[in-house]
């Protein structure tokens, strides 16, 4: 692996049409869970091949078997469901998009491994490191209804113990990176302490490098708290805001690893190599290459397979160019 500017992705990849169709057939009762699972494994292998072919350094399993990052742990078919959670009815997310919003119905408890088997499978397909992917306790609670606790703090702390168990399993199995996403963290400025308490429970005693991804929020207002979170790497979206967030790091004490998004995942447009290179150069002004990781702004699941591939190829091309300039290729 290169000595710097390692490339990775945030987690999800677009599902191939045959998986989308199979999930639909399954939900209508026309396909068995076993048949769907076989297609998910096939697609996972394709996603691993694709990432190797593009030349990414740190891989993900692509989440072919997950619908939503919270609902997967809370009752989506195929996954092992956290005790005390279930899927609720349909709620609108935006526009014409709806999802089954999870409900906390009882005391939260770890149900046994939820992501381990698929991580093992993905890692068995490649020599490159595959990240373990979890959703953080604050986001798990914030994006669910609560019919049991009536107290956000207790719900988040119990959830943190559950996610910690899962992280320990991945850690024991040898996952080199464990990513714990908290996209809800920047929703309420007065609860950053709770986000931090939750993450410190999750990451306690792990040997793996830990990563947290954020998006959709007023990052600037909670910058200092985020920088102090108990994880090794922060992953932020920067391409969709012209890399303005990087200015927050200028002149500040920052010794974690930083992953920056150089691809706008909500745009169909394929970035140019020059744009990617310019973004990386800006990031290099605030973080040295050994601590800088390059990835897309967020999960790629809303792009088409072709768009995602094209965007990632541009990203890798841009990274290679900068590595060459730095003499670390």
């Amino acid at each position: 692996m290169s000595k710097g500017l390692l490339t990775t992705t945030v987690g999800s990849f677009p599902k191939p049409d045959y998986v989308v169709q199979a999930r639909n057939e399954f939900s209508l009762g026309r396909l068995s869970r076993k048949e769907l699972a076989e297609l998910e494994l096939k697609a996972t292998a394709e996603v691993i091949r694709l990432q190797e072919d593009i030349g990414l350094d740190i891989l993900v399993d692509g989440e072919m078997y997950r619908g939503d990052m919270v609902a997967f742990f809370a009752g989506e078919p195929g996954g092992n469901t956290i005790n005390g959670m279930k899927l609720g009815g349909l709620v609108r997310s935006y526009g014409n998009r709806y999802y089954h919003k999870p409900v906390i119905t009882g005391k939260l408890a770890w149900p046994g491994p939820m992501t381990l088997e698929m991580w093992r499978y993905a890692q068995s397909l490649t020599d490159r490191p595959v990240k373990g992917m979890l959703t953080g306790p604050y986001t798990m609670v914030d994006w669910a209804f609560d019919e049991h606790y009536g107290d956000r703090t207790q719900a988040v702390l119990d959830m943190a113990a559950v996610i910690h168990q899962e992280a320990l399993e991945l850690d024991k199995a040898g996952a080199p990176y464990i990513q714990v996403d908290e996209p809800a963290a920047t929703t309420r400025f007065d609860e950053m302490d709770l986000v931090s308490r939750g993450l410190s429970i999750v990451t306690q005693g792990l040997k793996a490098k830990t990563v947290t991804h954020f998006c959709y929020g007023d990052f600037a207002r909670v910058f200092q708290q985020i920088v102090n979170l108990p994880v090794g790497q922060l992953d932020i979206e920067t391409a969709n805001s012209d890399y303005d967030l990087l200015e927050l790091f200028r002149g500040k004490q920052f010794d974690k690893e930083l992953a920056i998004g150089v691809l706008d995942v909500h745009s169909h447009r394929i970035e140019t190599v020059e744009e990617v290179v310019a973004g990386i150069r800006r990031a290099l002004e605030v973080v040295p290459p050994q601590r800088l990781y390059i990835d897309p702004d967020c999960g790629l699941k809303t792009r088409t397979w072709d768009e995602a591939t094209a965007k990632l190829r541009v990203m890798v091309q841009g990274v290679r160019q900068v590595r060459k300039e730095l003499g670390i290729d």
Binding site: G89, V91, Y98, E147, T187
Partner: protein, 324 residues
């Protein structure tokens, strides 16, 4: 004591009931049906949700805002000066809207909601109230790339949205509700809100209500009672401090009592509702209270919304017996 809702109502039901609107919008987006057919489905679903609200026993209902993609763009799309941009979180929810961007002078072109009101009024067995997003909230949730300050944008929007209120008045709406949730996040802007709403409501004769949600009015009470509205709607689920705040000074308007949590699926018991109604009745005369959910019901699934409204109506009925 009357029962009502705050605004939106879940657009699609759970299985096995068909998600008519979702399917129609998907087909419209793929070019398989035209605007007329989409409109027909919107009408059909509107009639459906009017029926559900009436069946729950509400005294005043809305059209469920079935046609609204969100509170902001439904108005911004019909005005000059706006473009519609990327997804952004709506307050602290996990619901997103496309952010309006102010790129030029804002100008009202045509009514967004008067036609919707007329359609609903014909279909509904109960009186229908119509809602308009207020100038402060529309400005605060948009990106301002044109006006020199938020203040200029808010005042410009107040002038333009006045046309929306007048259109509803001409259409005969018995109650016009103005929504200003954003002021609870930026209370120091209250003088600006007051100036804007006074301009917007000047000369309006229809009964007007001002609704807020996702917070409390500590810091703008009792001044909020001076605004030109007959009723003020408050969220007691996300703003429990409202209980203490309104007890500090006489509440001299009608109160929109948002006591059923429209952001959580936990069903309130009838006893809880009776308790809350009695608590409010000690502060405001019962004939001055509208009991309603804490905000629009779109944050919970359709079946939960129905169940919550049924509980609410039952609780108000029981409270009425106790208070009588």
């Amino acid at each position: 004591m009357l029962t009502t809702v705050v605004g939106n109502y879940p657009k699609i039901p759970d299985r096995p009931r068909p998600p008519k609107l979702r399917s129609a919008i998907a087909r419209f987006d793929r070019g398989e049906i035209g605007a007329d057919e989409l409109r027909r489905v919107e009408d059909e679903v509107t009639v459906e949700v009017i029926g559900e609200q009436a069946q729950a026993g509400l005294d005043i209902i809305t059209d469920g805002q079935i046609r609204w993609e969100d509170d902001q763009t439904y108005f911004a799309r019909r005005m000059d000066g706006f473009s519609i941009s990327g997804l952004i979180r709506y307050f602290d929810t996990n619901t997103y809207y496309r952010q309006p961007v102010v790129e030029g002078p804002v100008r009202w072109r045509e009514s967004a909601v008067a036609g919707d009101y007329e359609f609903a009024a014909v279909q509904s067995p109960a009186p229908v109230k119509a809602a308009v997003t207020g100038p402060y909230t529309l400005a605060a949730l948009s990106a301002n790339h044109h006006y020199g300050s938020l203040r200029e944008l808010v005042l410009a929007l107040a002038t333009e949205l006045r046309n929306e209120v007048l259109a509803l008045e001409r259409a005969g709406a018995p109650v016009i509700q103005v929504n200003e949730p954003a002021i609870l996040q930026q209370k120091e802007d209250f003088p600006l809100l007051r100036q804007a709403l006074e301009a917007m409501m000047d000369g309006v004769r229809t009964e007007a209500h001002l609704y807020t949600w996702f917070g409390d009015i500590d810091g703008v009470y009792p001044q909020i009672l001076e605004l030109p509205f007959a009723a003020i709607g408050l969220d007691f689920a996300k703003g429990p401090a409202n209980w203490d705040v309104i007890a500090r000074q006489p509440f001299t308007k009608k109160l929109g009592l948002g006591i059923v949590d429209a952001r959580n699926t936990r069903l309130e018991s009838v006893e809880e509702i009776v308790g809350a109604v009695r608590r409010a009745s000690a502060i405001v005369s019962p004939d001055m209270i509208y009991v309603n959910p804490s905000c629009g019901l779109e944050y919970v699934p359709r079946e939960v919304a129905q169940a919550k409204l049924a509980r609410m109506v039952e609780g108000v009925r029981r409270a009425g017996e106790v208070l009588a």
